[in-house]
């Protein structure tokens, strides 16, 4: 028996070996065939765009591969750009590819893709990422030259970091005060008059301001602490992370004033959703938010005015600025710069962009056009002109949590001692001091 199996095993092994050899032969034949292609491919694979050598005194007869620009933009911008770039493409003889990137994700995408060599040449983004992308060496400075004089200061400030400007600002936005035009004629200039107007109109809520009701929001609450001398980071050519002004006299005074406004019912304790609902259903007389809400506000007959003053000072909302950046990893920075300076920044292109995605223009020339057509936009612009841009330094990430939370305490009147940390906050001043301390600790400790 065993001999039989032994012989069989040997034969089995032999046939196995045979199979193996046949297989190896087949495999190597195919491999060689394809390997030949592979070596050819390898020499082509790393692309180097060589500048085509022009023959003298004659334009190129055979078009070499045209220069290419890749632009990353959020959807509405991309859609606005697509039909327009055709004109530039033919006039300049380049290929432009517009890729849609989610606005909120563009910072991370650019930071990941750029160093990996897969980033764009140009990208559109918010100004508050400027510090971070500069610190990471992902963006190139942009000398706007004569165009800078046509841009509002707030736009230039927003894109400045370390003494250089890093992009072309094209749109600004800031919050202002919506009012229910059926019930009141406009926004009064002081908060006392606002309260009086609400009492007269008899609405359930007076001012629906987001940033309360459990939803902390430092962005919407900014005027409440920054209009009378308070500030987050001092601006002096650039934002200084070592100078936190959340607990200075002005900030505390404003915060305590807010506290009184909440206590007497002028400012309601609502988050964004509730304030929107209240305004839409006529339950609040005013709604303190930005131009993106116009479609929602249209549920009632609305108007827009300036946020009331604080101690005689105009309200200081946060201004968000959007702009186009040149990537530091772009292989053709001259072309990218030219696209912005020569094409994108022109009034016609900006106007076309506005038509697709109406935002307050950052350029004065376009703004004049828009202002005439759209008085509501003019109101938002007026509000923005009193505002300051959100600090664009990387340390700003430490601010949103603590400041939003502190304002939430005041807005929701959540005073008391916290059972888990033992920290006591009994007044608006305490809240602001706590926020300032948390911000300083976070920046220092990381």
């Amino acid at each position: 028996m065993s001999e039989y199996t032994y012989i069989n095993e040997r034969e089995y092994m032999k046939s196995n070996k045979l199979r193996f050899i046949v297989f190896l032969l087949m495999f190597s034949m195919i491999a060689i065939a394809c390997g030949g292609d592979a070596t050819e491919e390898t020499s082509e694979a790393p692309e180097t765009t060589e500048a085509p050598q022009e023959t003298l005194a004659a334009p190129a007869t055979t078009a070499p591969t045209p220069e290419k620009l890749v632009i990353w933009a959020e959807e509405k911008i991309a859609i606005a750009l697509e039909p327009l770039v055709g004109a530039y493409e033919s006039a300049a003889g380049v290929d432009i590819e517009v890729v849609i990137y989610d606005f909120g994700a563009i910072k991370n995408d650019v930071l990941t893709a750029g160093p990996a060599g897969e980033g764009p040449d140009l990208f559109v983004g918010p100004h508050d990422m400027v510090g971070e992308i500069v610190a990471n060496g992902v963006v190139a400075p942009l000398d706007l030259g004569s165009i800078a004089s046509d841009i509002f200061d707030v736009g230039i400030t927003a894109f400045s970091y370390g003494g250089d400007v890093y992009g072309f600002p094209y749109a600004t936005e800031a919050i202002a005060m919506y009012y229910n035009a059926d019930l009141v004629d406009g926004v009064p200039s002081t908060w006392e008059e606002v309260k009086a107007a609400c009492d007269a109109a008899g609405t359930e809520l007076c001012v629906g301001a987001p940033g309360g009701g459990g939803g902390g929001d430092a962005y919407h609450n900014h005027p409440f602490f920054a209009s009378d001398g308070g500030y987050i980071f001092k601006f002096d050519g650039g934002f200084d992370p070592n100078d936190v002004g959340l607990d200075n006299a002005g900030a505390i005074a404003s915060a305590e004033y807010l506290d009184s406004l909440v206590k007497n019912g002028t400012v309601a304790s609502t988050d964004y959703g509730a304030s929107m609902t209240a305004f839409q259903e006529g339950r609040s007389l005013f709604w303190m938010t930005g131009p993106w809400a116009r479609n929602d506000a249209a549920a009632v007959n609305y108007g827009v005015g300036l946020i009331p003053t604080f101690n005689g000072n105009p309200a200081t909302p946060f201004v968000g600025v959007r702009g186009m950046f040149v990537s530091a990893f772009s292989e053709n920075k001259v072309l990218a710069q030219s696209f912005i300076l020569d094409f994108f920044s022109t009034v016609d292109v900006q106007a076309a962009m506005y038509a697709q995605d109406p935002r307050l223009p950052a350029t004065k020339s376009l703004f004049a056009v828009v202002e005439a057509q759209d008085p509501i936009a003019a109101q938002f612009a007026a509000s923005a002109s009193n505002g300051i841009p959100m600090p664009n330094i990387p340390e700003m990430g430490n601010v949103w949590g603590p400041v939003g939370d502190a304002m939430l305490i005041i807005r929701d009147q959540n005073y008391g001692t916290n059972e888990d940390t033992g920290v006591t906050v009994n007044s608006a001043a305490d809240a602001m001091k706590l926020a300032a301390q948390q911000v300083r600790d976070a920046i220092a400790g990381g």
């Binding site: 196995n16 199979r19 046949v22 297989f23 495999f27 491999a31 065939a33 394809c34 390997g35 592979a38 491919e41 390898t42 694979a45 500048a51 022009e54 003298l56 334009p59 190129a60 045209p66 220069e67 006039a91 300049a92 380049v94 930071l111 160093p115 971070e132 500069v134 610190a135 990471n136 060496g137 190139a140 000398d143 030259g145 004569s146 009701g213 459990g214 939803g215 988050d271 509730a274 209240a278 259903e281 920075k333 001259v334 072309l335 710069q337 030219s338 020569d342 340390e395 990430g397 430490n398 939370d405 939430l408 916290n418 888990d420 940390t421 920290v423 948390q438 600790d441 400790g445 990381g446």
Partner: protein
């Protein structure tokens, strides 16, 4: 040779030749991640399918390929990142950082803000020349040269003859004026060229205008920083400073760290920070405890509801059985994140439908309407309730399927022996169910332990814990707390730190799961793996 064996060899041959084609291309692109994965996969496939042995692997390998590529590799990458200082200012490699630094230009005060028309000319040898129209008596012309040639001193000269009486540009015949399109076609080369005006100033093409004249800018002839490789030092040309290497992946000039820096490995520093940093301790304690609670109750709630429903409907002759079943999986048909947002609206304490609906109930019991999302208890309850709604269809589906697998004879035998339905449920059905479902429950626990989407969308971490050393909320679970740490703190973007927290979370989940699997092994032994 059998047909199947032939097919196998053919497939292997094709596959391997494909790999042989891919590898050089991958190397050419310097795609090291991809290369590693390709090598591992081809190794795996060849070993698996070459021989007649290793049968089980033949079944498992297809799925294993994807698991290795898209689950194991990212996990390994994440683990690697946790040992680096990847954060703002430290995302590039050292090489890239030096390139960025050397790319930086600077302008002296007298060069700032000077803008002028620039014309590009080309001669017979296809060399480029710049003609800069700085002002009426400075129409500078000269050869445009690369950085390396600066020392050869081709200074520009004033050539008033290049402009005619009307102010139009008229150049000698040996030169050709490039149109905008031609400038653009050559832009890659032109951007590296400059015209030297004097020792300290150069002219650079800045804006190629298709609609007008191109313009240039004045820049310093020197670049801002120069890197000296042998000494590993960065030299600041503007301030004449030597900048030395810091130990965090930076150059330091005169006490100031220069951006950008680069990524370095820092060993276990991130882990140490989590463990040692006083500021994290309190919040971490609260968050970890709540994460366990949340995951546990989430599983309990969804399992209980799912089981209740599948048992309720598990009667053959029940009318509308199909309709009930279909309705219970309907919540599944709406994408999860939309349902979460819907509930966020429904639970709005001021205007939401839930409080409106329960208004009579509140009045009946004379209690305040629940202040959803504003208090610790209400937020945590809300999170669990919404999760229950989202998760019970899954549990319902699984338990229904599993109930089918319980042999009917067992239950019939029990009935014959005189057991009540309740007894047969708890003594037979339920344990058998647990045996087959327990890994699911463990998996659901792990999933909810990391259920970032729900927390982020519903409460963003929930009512803040006032006075905590780092910003944290009452519904923050470990993973959302990690996210906050990553984007805030220091200069933001602290991925190295986040990766280390992620790894710790994984180890915790791993530990719990491993223990639970051991326990379910015991269950299996008792009740038999039928």
């Amino acid at each position: 040779m059998k047909f199947s064996t032939f097919v196998r060899y053919l497939f292997l041959a094709v596959f391997n030749s494909f790999i042989i084609y891919l590898v050089p291309v991958t190397i050419a692109f310097e795609s090291w991640f991809l290369l590693t994965i390709i090598i591992i996969i081809s190794f795996l496939i060849n070993i698996t399918y070459l021989t007649n042995r290793l049968k089980p692997l033949k079944w498992i390998t297809p799925g294993m390929i994807f698991l290795l590529s898209f689950v194991v590799f990212p996990a390994a990458y994440s683990f690697y990142v946790s040992f680096t200082n990847w954060s703002t200012g430290h995302i590039l490699t050292k090489q890239q950082a030096i390139e960025r630094l050397e790319d930086m230009t600077f302008t002296n005060d007298n060069q700032k803000g000077v803008e002028f028309d620039l014309y590009i000319l080309q001669d017979q040898d296809l060399d480029f020349y710049f003609l800069a129209d700085l002002d009426p008596d400075k129409l500078l012309f000269g050869k445009a040269i690369k950085k390396e040639e600066y020392s050869q001193v081709f200074y520009a000269t004033h050539e008033p003859s290049f402009k005619d009486l009307n102010g139009n540009i008229s150049i000698p015949d040996e030169y050709y004026l490039l149109s905008a399109k031609e400038q653009i076609a050559n832009s890659s080369e032109l951007q590296d060229l400059a015209l030297l005006i004097d020792k300290n100033t150069r002219v650079q093409l800045y804006n190629i205008s298709v609609f007008g004249a191109s313009s240039g800018r004045l820049l310093s002839a020197q670049q801002k920083y120069s890197y000296y490789a042998e000494a590993d030092i960065l030299y600041d040309n503007v301030n004449n400073l030597e900048c030395n290497l810091g130990n965090r992946g930076n150059f330091i000039c005169d006490g100031e760290t220069i951006d950008p820096g680069w990524r370095i490995t820092v060993g276990t520093e991130n882990y140490k920070r989590i463990v040692e940093d006083e500021r994290f301790r309190g919040p971490l304690r609260i968050v970890t405890f709540w994460t366990f609670q949340f995951a546990f109750f989430a599983v309990l709630a969804t399992f209980f509801i799912g089981l209740l429903l599948s048992v309720t409907l598990n009667k053959e002759s029940l009318k509308f059985q199909k309709i009930y079943r279909s309705i219970y999986i309907l919540p599944y048909a709406i994408p999860g994140f939309i349902s979460i947002l819907v509930f966020k609206g429904l639970l709005n304490p001021d205007f939401g439908l839930v409080n409106e609906w329960f208004a009579p109930v509140y009045e009946l019991f004379n209690i305040e309407p629940i202040n959803w999302f504003r208090t610790k208890a209400s937020s945590r309850t809300a999170v669990l309730l919404v999760n229950a709604w989202l998760g019970f269809p899954y549990m319902f589906l699984i338990t229904t399927g599993a109930l089918q697998s319980i042999p009917k004879e067992l239950l019939e035998a029990a009935k014959v022996d005189g057991a009540t339905s309740r007894q047969s449920f708890w003594r037979i059905t339920f344990p058998l169910l647990l045996v087959s479902i327990s890994p699911l429950l463990i998996g659901a626990f792990a999933f909810n332990f990391n259920n970032f989407t729900l927390i982020f969308l519903l409460t963003s971490g929930g009512p803040p814990i006032v006075g905590a050393d780092v910003a944290v909320g009452y519904t923050d679970i470990l993973i959302s707390f990690t996210y906050d740490l990553a984007i805030a703190g220091g200069r933001g973007y602290q991925f190295g730190l986040a990766a280390s927290v992620t790894t710790i979370i994984f180890l915790i989940v791993l530990l719990i799961s491993a223990i639970s699997f051991r326990y379910s092994k015991r269950l299996e032994r008792v009740y038999g793996n039928l």
